[in-house]
């Protein structure tokens, strides 16, 4: 994690990229072969064609689409509410409920059903033991309405329809429960709403700061450049993980001025916004440096000089000619930096510095359950399941980013 924020391999890449683009133009002039027959393709078409040949990037992209859809429809797909748990009898640390497909009476395949589970203690080891109460079968029902646990899709459409569920008193916990008896499966789905989106929003914060300050530094040079680059250096000089931890923990403290402006206790959505800004604030420096380098070299190119000679104002040259030329590189480096932000959020939540347990869920927070005092992980292995979506999301964003980079890079055309 710390590596994610400390080092900046992309910076050298940026320089290569400019050099490549320049040499590519040269190549196009000098090595233009026989005139191509037929209609020529637009730049966008070429990039899309290249991208769709990249199988792993496509797979990654589709998995991401799937993951984001499950986050949007988390309420519908999950059998239980975000914060739903039963006080008595509790269902702490339940292993995943076994779903039966074969009817024990007839021995034939039947519609899936579960049994109610009774908890007892092992007389010797005092460990929790769960036994199925096989007297009644509880078939899994589809499209059940649970008016006691309504949810909202995208914060607008209210509903209480759930994809599946079972009648009381039985419960269906596909991935077990945590210490409070909350359903891990449901909470992983809800957790995606936080963990998957924090990265996307934080990247926008970093992009805005990076484009603005990097663009100004590269364009005006001199004093402005020095000032901004010193600021970047200062931010880069403090180890990223520590800066993240300090900012997140101090800012969410109810006694600090910011929290008091919002009211004494921060609500979960305010904490969420706070995390987004902290991540963006820690991450903007690298992007600003890249964009500055880009602008510095692009400013001297002929088209920028031409625009200037034609009487375009400085800000017009900057906003209409120089910044758009950074677009393809920015898209790629944004895609490749999203995994870092996702890991940043999950790390913070893992340390308990992210959204609170009470009314939100996050994958890092769910993994934190497995580290609670007095828990031996071998007895509750299902608490590690929330790590898998983190892994998948980071992997797929990396694959997608690599695919985009290759598609934009003229040297890698196939």
């Amino acid at each position: 994690m710390a590596d994610e924020f400390n080092r900046d391999p992309q910076e050298t890449e940026a320089k290569d990229f400019i050099a490549e683009a320049a040499s590519d133009q040269l190549e196009a002039v000098t090595t233009a072969g026989p005139i191509m027959a037929g209609k020529s393709k637009s730049q966008g078409q070429i990039i899309w064609e290249q991208f769709s040949r990249h199988k792993s990037a496509l797979v990654g992209g589709w998995i991401l689409v799937f993951m984001y859809l499950t986050a949007v429809f988390a309420g519908f797909l999950s059998p239980y509410g975000l914060n739903e748990y039963r006080r008595s009898p509790t269902a702490s640390f339940r292993p995943p409920t076994q779903v039966h497909w074969i009817d024990p009476d007839t021995g034939r395949l039947t519609r899936p059903f579960v049994y109610d589970v009774v908890e007892s203690r092992d007389p010797v080891t005092r460990q929790r033991v769960y036994d199925e109460d096989t007297t009644t079968k509880f078939p899994i029902k589809f499209f059940v309405r649970r008016p006691s646990q309504p949810y909202k899709i995208l914060g607008v459409f209210q509903s209480d329809l759930r994809l599946f569920g079972v009648d009381d008193p039985a419960r269906v916990f596909l991935w077990g429960t945590n210490n409070l008896g909350k359903d891990v499966f449901s909470r992983v789905l809800y957790g995606g709403q936080v963990s998957l989106t924090v990265g996307l929003l934080a990247v926008w914060v970093a992009l805005t700061l990076g484009l603005l300050l990097g663009g100004l530094a590269g364009f005006y040079g001199g004093f402005v450049d020095d000032l901004i680059m010193r600021l970047v250096e200062i931010f880069a000089a403090i180890p990223g993980l520590f800066l993240l931890i300090v900012l997140a923990s101090l800012l969410r403290d109810p006694r600090n001025p910011l929290a008091q402006a919002f009211g004494l206790q921060m609500t979960s959505s305010q904490t969420y916004i706070l995390i987004v800004f902290v991540l963006g604030l820690v991450g903007w420096g690298g992007l600003a440096r890249i964009i500055r380098g880009f602008i510095l070299s692009a400013r001297e190119l002929d088209y920028a000089q031409a625009a200037k000679a034609l009487g375009a104002s400085e800000s017009r040259v900057l906003w209409r000619h120089l910044l758009p030329s950074t677009a393809s590189y920015v898209v790629v480096s944004l895609t490749l930096s999203i995994p870092g932000y996702i890991l940043g959020e999950t790390s913070l939540s893992f340390l308990g510095l992210g959204p609170s347990e009470v009314d939100t869920s996050s994958w890092g927070l769910l993994l934190r359950d497995a580290t609670a005092r007095g828990i031996s992980i071998q007895f509750v292995p299902w608490l590690l399941i929330p790590g898998i979506p983190i892994f998948m999301a980071v992997l797929c964003w990396n694959l997608l980013g690599d695919g985009l980079r290759d598609a934009f890079d003229p040297r890698k055309r196939r």
């Binding site: 403090i238 071998q378 590690l384």
Partner: protein, 333 residues
């Protein structure tokens, strides 16, 4: 060269002052401090609080506090810990040493594993082995350190419980928490060394994985580029063996950025292991940092930030200098 070093060194000063100011500013964001909390304890007299407040200079305005703190810092004094009333330096020396052990071993693992993997996949491009390496490196990049540590802990516990009856496997498997065994104090110096190494293996492996993945990928790309270049073709044409071409002609230039990167590893030496230390209860910097933050022991927090910041800056300087030493193409003037 010397002029360059001196100039670079002086350039570090404003950055360092800026970073410490930023750290100090952030630490002041919380209006309540350690003493506010201490004042709530029934057995602490208000006079004691006032005395401590004056002693730590907390009754002064912020700028004065900063200057005082900075003056002490320049004399090598990081201040006193509120909680334990010891000099900060004493409190953080041991965790820093522990983190350093961990990082040293993980860097060693990184090089031992990543260089052969990178070379192999560059030489046998698109072979099955190359694809496996590339898959592994995606895996290493994507898996969060703390999750990987948890999974390894689970795996070790599971193997233990499976093999318990067969033979005494516990002695053979790596421990997954802490830094020393229960009987550490009674061991011989050599035994102590092995005990720590034994405890260090899994956490350093976890720390190394993420770095390994990036390292292998970049090394492979570099090697592929050099292997396709003209001077390699010349070397082939004059009849050099494959081994000499790969290791002497291609690997040497390809590895230059990594040699330079050793300086950049300095901050990792103390701060990089991060959440793995938390997950595997390694008594290193990050747990100390979190604990200090939790008890609002602000000078320990500041001390750790200052020292790691300093190391980061020196590390960056070192890697630039190292680059100039190993790469004859770079001239600083």
């Amino acid at each position: 060269m010397l002029v360059y070093i001196i100039r670079r060194f002086f350039q570090l000063i404003p950055t360092f002052i800026g970073a410490t100011m930023l750290a100090f500013l952030i630490s002041q964001l919380v209006p309540g401090d350690f003493l506010t909390r201490k004042a709530l304890e029934p057995n602490v007299r208000p006079e004691t609080i006032e005395r401590m407040r004056a002693q730590f200079g907390l009754d002064q305005p912020m700028a004065v506090q900063y200057v005082r703190w900075m003056r002490n810092l320049l004399q090598g004094n990081l201040g006193q810990s509120f909680v334990s009333n010891q000099p900060v330096m004493n409190r953080i020396a041991r965790p820093m040493r522990n983190s350093m052990y961990l990082a040293l071993l993980s860097i060693l693992m990184l090089w031992v594993v990543a260089v052969p993997m990178g070379v192999y996949s560059a030489v046998r491009q698109y072979s099955l082995g190359d694809q496996v390496v590339s898959m592994l490196s995606y895996f290493g990049l994507a898996i969060p350190n703390f999750f990987f540590a948890q999974v390894l802990i689970l795996l070790i516990f599971v193997t233990r419980s499976f093999t318990k009856d067969a033979f005494d496997f516990n002695q053979l498997l790596f421990p997954v928490a802490g830094m020393t065994s229960g009987n550490h104090l009674t061991m011989t110096p050599w035994g102590k060394f092995w005990d720590i190494m034994w405890h260090m293996f899994i956490p350093s492996f976890v720390v190394a994985t993420a770095g390994m993945a990036g390292f292998t990928r970049v090394l492979r790309a570099q090697m592929v580029e050099y292997l396709g270049s003209d001077f390699i073709r010349t070397a082939k044409a004059k009849g050099l063996g494959q081994g000499s071409i790969t290791y002497k002609h291609a690997l040497r230039p390809a590895i230059i950025p990594f040699v330079a990167g050793i300086g950049g590893l300095l901050p990792d030496l103390v701060g990089g292991a991060g959440l793995v230390e938390v997950t595997m209860s390694w008594p290193g910097i990050t747990p100390t940092f979190l604990e200090a933050l939790n008890s609002q022991d602000i000078y320990i927090v500041l001390g750790l930030i200052v020292i790691t910041t300093l190391l980061l800056m020196i590390g960056n300087l070192l890697s630039d200098l190292l680059l100039a030493v190993v790469d004859p193409r770079i001239r600083y003037n």
